[in-house]
Structures are given as structure tokens and as C-alpha cells.
């Protein structure tokens, strides 16, 4: 049985003459997928298309086999935490979640149980009986998250879900995303906090000016960026010796000894060859290696290489 996926086929969306996204082809597997790109790159447009809040000008979308034009089926499987910071007036946190679970068609007892469970998951039980209008920004963010997860969806779409959360809440929320990802759900997250994206993502989709510029597991995406040498950090006792030996080879383009004199940052066009070479140098010169690790196969580096400063803020 094929793995259920979120599929975009040649999807474009224009707002009048303004481009939202153009010719997007994606096949998103379960796990945590981060949408990364500067403001206006098309992240929210992509999420709204996925959720059927807007329709594509061209192309088609399927979310686990359901087209977004059928909300009555789609939102049995999907929960969406949007960026819109507005709520129906006069409702408490509990009523907000509970009322919309009833709109789903649930029985009152069922809705009550799931509401309490969702509130518990985002640590909002204590504030559940207060009006949403009286919540802080972080609490509003958490109650939106609770509303999105309350019906236990298989697909979670989260637009900047960490905005406004304090460090403790961020850590809890990220742990929640990880748990959902490990359970085999689709978790689609957009965030401009790249180091957090890096920590949680199984795969990334990099967007710029409405185009998908790269997608896949971050290491895979990094290795496709051929015009930027891979950075490898080697912690050892004699970095200067190592640097001298490495420069004898063509594929090493730069080497920089760290300030503490215990590390060497190596730039290479062929990481696999570098690792083989490193073994030989270590044996030949009796070096003591403490650690060898890629230094730029994270989202931040890939973002800088592919999008850089052209798009403004991520």
C-alpha cells in the first residue's frame, strides 16, 4: 500500500497579477516538514492551498487522497493552526474548542473529552474558563494549536506555531511536534526561526519568490548545493599539521584553525573523499581526533546558500 502523501501537481496561485506560488510540484511524506523562506515567499499561500482556504489558479492538490475542495472530508483528517490572530467573540478557551468540535458533528460528551485532552496537551487547562479575548499572545497561540489538534488529525498544518511562545512553551510544543511526527502523522510547519526548524524537521521545503527552490532531507538538499564547498569541522590535537596535509589534495578549498587551536574548519567539494583522506592522515601522523562533524548541513546554511539575503528576513 503506498505511503499516504500530500501531493501538489504543478500548482500555481496568482492574486490578480501578483504571484503567490508558481508551478509547485511536491510529494510530502509523513513526518515533520518545514516550510522555510523569506516573507512573501509563498509559505502561507502553500498552507492555505493545502487547507482549501484558497483555490489554485492552476494544478491540483491531494491531501492523503482528498482534494482540499471537499472540506467535509479534508478536515476530518487535517488540523490547521493559521497565523490569523482573531477569535469568535465572547468565548472562553474551552468554549472555543468545544463549540467547533460540535460543529464537526461530535456528541457533547465526545467534544468535552477531546477539548479537555487538547487543553491539557498545550498546558492551557488552568486558563480554559477565561475569555480568549483576555489571553496573552502566547496563550492565544496555544489555544489555536489546541483547536487544531483537538480532533486528533493525521495532518497538522501549523503556520508560525512558535510565534509568541515563551522558551518553556516552545520546548513543549516542539516536543509535541516530534511526538506527532514519530507517530507517522504529517506535520507541516512554517517558521522563520531557522535553528528551531533545524532541530525538528525531517525534511524541508525552501521557498523563494513563490518557487520551491529545494526540498527533501536537509543533508540531501545541502549535498545538492554544489557551488558551495561543504564545511567540515575536525576537532583534533594538531590542526595545523592536519591543515598542511589536507592542502596537498585538490578537493580541499579552505582550512581554518579555530581560535582555541583545537579545531580545523575544512571546506571541500567532495566530503566523502575528505573523510577517506582524513583516516589516512590520522594513521600516518598519529593525530588524535576528538570529533568530525559537518558544519553547514543545517537549514540556516542551506537557506543562506540558496536564498541568502535576496529575500529579506526568513
Amino acid at each position: 500500500m503506498p505511503e499516504p502523501r500530500i501531493v501538489f501537481e504543478n500548482v500555481s496561485r496568482f492574486y490578480g497579477e501578483v504571484l503567490g506560488v508558481n508551478r509547485v510540484n511536491l510529494s510530502i511524506p509523513p513526518g515533520i516538514t518545514s516550510l522555510v523562506g523569506p516573507n512573501g515567499s509563498g509559505k502561507t499561500t502553500l498552507m492555505n492551498l493545502m487547507a482549501g482556504l484558497i483555490r489554485p489558479s492552476r494544478g491540483s492538490i491531494q491531501v492523503l487522497g482528498v482534494p482540499p475542495g471537499r472540506p467535509e472530508e479534508l478536515f476530518r483528517k487535517m488540523g490547521y493552526c493559521t497565523q490569523f490572530d482573531a477569535f469568535p467573540k465572547g468565548l472562553t478557551g474551552y468554549q472555543f474548542i468545544y463549540s467547533f468540535l460540535l460543529v464537526h458533528g461530535m456528541l457533547e460528551s465526545e467534544a468535552d473529552k477531546l477539548t479537555r485532552e487538547a487543553l491539557e496537551r498545550v498546558s492551557m487547562t488552568q486558563a480554559a474558563d477565561r475569555l480568549v479575548a483576555a489571553y496573552s499572545k502566547g496563550m492565544r497561540q496555544r489555544i489555536k494549536l489546541a483547536q487544531a489538534i483537538a480532533h486528533r488529525p493525521r495532518v497538522l498544518v501549523l503556520d508560525e506555531p512558535l510565534n509568541g511562545l515563551d522558551p518553556m512553551a516552545r520546548a513543549e510544543t516542539i516536543a509535541l511536534f516530534r511526538q506527532w511526527g514519530e507517530e507517522g502523522r504529517h506535520v507541516i510547519v512554517s517558521s522563520h526561526i531557522l535553528h528551531e526548524v533545524d532541530r525538528i524537521s525531517d525534511q524541508v521545503i525552501l521557498l523563494s519568490h513563490g518557487y520551491v527552490v529545494a526540498e527533501g532531507e536537509i543533508q540531501g538538499v545541502r549535498s545538492e548545493v554544489k557551488d558551495q564547498p561543504m564545511q567540515v569541522l575536525v576537532r583534533c590535537d594538531k590542526p595545523a599539521v592536519l591543515a598542511a596535509r589536507l592542502f596537498e589534495r585538490d578537493n580541499v578549498v579552505e582550512a581554518k584553525v579555530s581560535n582555541d587551536g583545537k579545531g580545523l574548519l575544512v571546506g571541500t567539494r567532495d566530503a566523502d573523499s575528505l573523510y577517506l583522506l582524513l583516516n589516512r592522515i590520522v594513521l600516518d601522523n598519529g593525530l588524535e581526533i576528538e570529533a568530525v562533524a559537518p558544519a553547514d548541513d543545517d537549514v540556516n546554511s542551506v537557506y543562506q546558500y540558496l536564498i541568502g539575503s535576496e529575500g529579506g528576513n526568513a
Partner: protein, 280 residues
Amino acid sequence: MTWNEVATQPWMLWRRQVAAILRLELKKSLFSKRAWWIYFLTAGPVLITAVHSLFSGHGHTMAEDNMIFAGIFQVYFLRLGIFFGCLGIFSNLFRAEVLERTLHYYFMSPVRREVLAVSKYIAGLIAAVIYFGGSVVLSFLFISAHWGPVFQQYLMHGPGLSELGRYALTAALACVGYGSVFLLTGVIIRNPLIPAAVVFVWENLNPFLPSLLKKFSVIFYLKSLCPTGELPTDGALAFLATSANPTPAWLAIPGLLIVSALLLAYAAAQARRLEVSYSE
């Protein structure tokens, strides 16, 4: 029956969803700050008739009071109060949620847009009938209340109760008709004032329209349902009150309901095409 089980039984699912949406919408339609001017529209005639009852004395007949009420009903309620009240209630069912940026919560629920549109319409209709039905009934009772036992006799043992019922029914049907018109305009047109002006002119031009076109108007069906058809025919506003060729009730009521159902069906179909684009 749990959520997953009920999914296979659409009618039961829709019934639950309609009930849930009504819970949310009725609160908004009845008690929202947005509705203050509708309170004013409904309270106006009640206050005026109450004042009339308290201070007018007996220098006129009860039949004259009835005729005044017929005038208030046909000119004020049908052409102004219910028209603008329904404009406020029904065109805001979707529009206000766009302005408040909360429509997406409904759109992110597993509910058919058609069910959503119909539920919102029912909520608007209940609110409008409570507002205007209540206002009509209270105004009718207040305008002749000072006649005391004579009015009681007229109400309980004469044609009074039946007339009151017909006024209330006509008001409710007006809400049905105008409600469907303004739900549709609220769904398909961003600025409700333009269609409101067009519908207002159309409704008031009704006496001058060819007979076929007359049928595409709410007022066409309502005028003949009013219990008192013999308003004075002299004066500039006479055409507003009477119908030269009254439509029989057996035709007027189903006709209005069919036109309203068609408009509601079209609005529901259009709701399926609605997008959430608050910034535009």
C-alpha cells in the same frame, strides 16, 4: 453514535452540525453589538404605539387604530424595518466574519459549505423573526390596548387574533424572502450597500413593473397577505400600500418560499467557492 460512526449517516451528521452552528450564530445575531441598530428598528414602532396607547385617549375609533397599524405594517415594517433589518442580519452572516477574520474557523471544520450557509440562514431567520415578529405583535397589541375590554373582545372573540396571526406570518415570510436575498448578496458581493440599494429600488418599483417581473420581488408576495388591504388609495404613497391585482395566498406563500429556496440554494453553492482572503 460517535463522530466516526455518524460520518456514514449524513442526515444525522448535518442535523448535529446545524444545531452546533445555530448555537454559535444565534448568540451573534441576537446579542451582538453589531445588532444595536436593529434593536432600534424593532423598538421604534413598539415605543410609538405604546405612547399612542398611553396618551391618545378615545377621540377616534378602534377601526382607525387598526387602519393606522395596517399603514405602519405595510409602509414601515415591510418596506423599511424588515428590509433594512434583514440587510443587517443576513448580509453580515458571512461578511462580518470576514471583517472580524474568523470565517476560517468554520471553513476549517469538516462541514459542507452548503450546510454552513443553510445553518447561518436559519440562525439569521430565527433572529429576524424574533426581532420583527415580536415587534409586530407588540405594536399590534399596544396600538389598541387603551380600548381595554373592547380590544380584548376583538382579539379573543373577533377577527383580532387571526389578523395578528396574519401580520406575524407576513412578517416572518418577509424575513424568509429578504433573508435569502441578503444572504446571497452577502456571499457574492463584498460591499452590501450596492446590492441593498438596487434591491430597495427594485422592491419599490414593483407596482410599475410588468407582471412577469413583479414575481421576482418579495413585496409582490407579501402585500396580498396583509389582513387589511383597504388602506386609503388617495395620496402619493397609496401605491406602496395596496396591490391592484392581489396574489391569492395559496400562490403567494409557496411562490415566496420557492423563490427564497432558489436564492438560498444559489447562495449555498456560491459559499462553496468562497475563499479566505481577509487582506483583500
